[in-house]
Subunit: 249 residues, 2 copies
DNA sequence: CGCCTGCTTGAACGCTATCAAAAAACGTGG
DNA sequence: CCACGTTTTTTGATAGCGTTCAAGCAGGCG
């Protein structure tokens, strides 16, 4: 397996993410405390499955670099992508609290992650009220995102749904430092988009093509570049949430 | 407004819900602690909106009796019901942590609820690691439920979706003591079902009719009775989660 | 070069929406 | 208890969005 795990001491106070705008600042003590909960760091390649539906997973992760996604399947193979994850996101909390995982997680690009052991992670609640609060905050924000996705799946047309998904991901990428001036692309295949929107691959393709004709996006082999975020927002009847600082664990 | 709020001291150790199977048992001290966080109890009538999208809401609630639901709307009026709530559910956590509410909550039947003031509620994290854990547990379980709904919205056909929703609600009602031998009905209009499934009212009606013809359900004026839970599960390719004890706050 | 994965396109079918209207159930006041 | 307005459920007909089937094309990689 092309996975590399390092078990040396993690120094959270030196974490690059903390220096980014977008994350709440944190005292040196708090950073030290978090360091104590971590059991290592790892990298993984595109396509790697970090969490599998139906299994017990003894780890949680914080994304440091790269994109990943969460999905759930029916027995006959139909699958629904539930959400995408970017640096700063905490992954696997459901499994830590509720035992068996009922979704899977896969890397969309090469990723770097911080690793928590489940049992040690759960002592956060005893050790620090602030961190416990942060965990809950992250869980609530995740739920809020799912609310938005559900509105989309249930009520928006194909075109609106596609526009929503793409601007949504655009702002997530932007705010978590995944875009640079030379690279502001969302790394997705159309087949993944189809599984996210609940549409067939063929119809997804035709819908994206129409967005491209309107000069809202450009498709470049397994990635999407956003040309006109405001235009997409208006197609989707959506506005991005305020960019308020979020906790990082 | 037909709402009655009582501000007398709440005695959580005497709460009827605690005596129900399905909830985790709790020490006398813990119950006393929770009592301290509560600021009252209230009743409300069918159709009352407890939480409105876009507003700040200074309260959280624990459902004691009755059914309610959460929804989100697009500007042109299309709305998506996100989830239904039953006794034991904690409501309004998102708003407490993330400021402005981005969904609404409405009573589906007359309800009785425990009230928490936002600011006092948030001190739970400092006062009790166990209760903080429970809050997070509830948030995670809610998210897991949304995952299931998303799979349904995105991947299941109309018939499968309807079957899923109805058994899902059947088990929720059953396990939270909302059904008695003389009344095991889910209090829903077909229009609400339509807004939950992301289908038109007409097509929802035709789909429910087919479920009724198969003797899986019976429709009785603004309510649905489940005749064959296993049958519905098999139509939906779904099995209810294990009935493990859940915390009550 | 050839294979594999991912994207594109056209045609036909069908599930679901929309339109339109009627029937049934419900609540309320007379 | 009945009349009457309102909400909810039911039904039929028509239209359309999205699916499925079936190829063909393009690009990356061994």
């Amino acid at each position: 397996m092309d996975t590399s795990v390092s078990h040396h001491m993690i120094r959270c106070d030196a974490c690059v993410l903390r220096r980014m705008s977008g994350f709440r600042s944190m005292s040196a003590e708090e950073a030290k405390l978090i360091s104590g909960f971590k059991s290592g760091e790892m990298r993984c390649e595109t396509g790697m499955t970090l969490i599998s539906e139906g299994t017990l997973n003894p780890y949680l992760y914080t994304v440091l670099e790269g994109w990943g996604f969460r999905y759930k399947s029916l027995e006959d193979g139909r699958r629904q992508i539930l959400n995408y994850h970017v640096p700063g996101d905490l992954i696997g909390l459901q499994g830590a609290l509720l035992q068996e995982m009922d979704h899977s997680f896969e890397a969309l690009t090469p990723m770097r992650l911080c690793i928590f052991e489940r049992s040690r992670f759960l002592t956060i609640f005893e050790k620090s009220a602030d961190l416990a609060f942060d965990v809950t905050w992250l869980a609530s924000r995740d739920e809020r995102i799912l609310d938005g996705h559900m509105l989309s799946l249930g009520q928006r047309t194909a075109m609106e749904r596609a526009a929503y998904l793409l601007v949504f991901l655009y702002y997530r990428g932007l705010r978590s430092g995944l875009f640079t001036s030379s690279n502001a692309q969302i790394p997705l295949s159309q087949s993944l988009i189809a599984d996210t929107l609940g549409l067939s691959l063929v119809h997804t393709n035709k819908t994206l093509k129409r967005l491209a004709q309107r000069k809202l996006i450009v498709w470049r082999g397994r990635a999407c570049e956003i040309l006109d975020p405001e235009g997409l927002c208006s197609v989707a009847e959506w506005t991005p949430p305020e960019a308020s600082p979020r906790p990082l664990i």
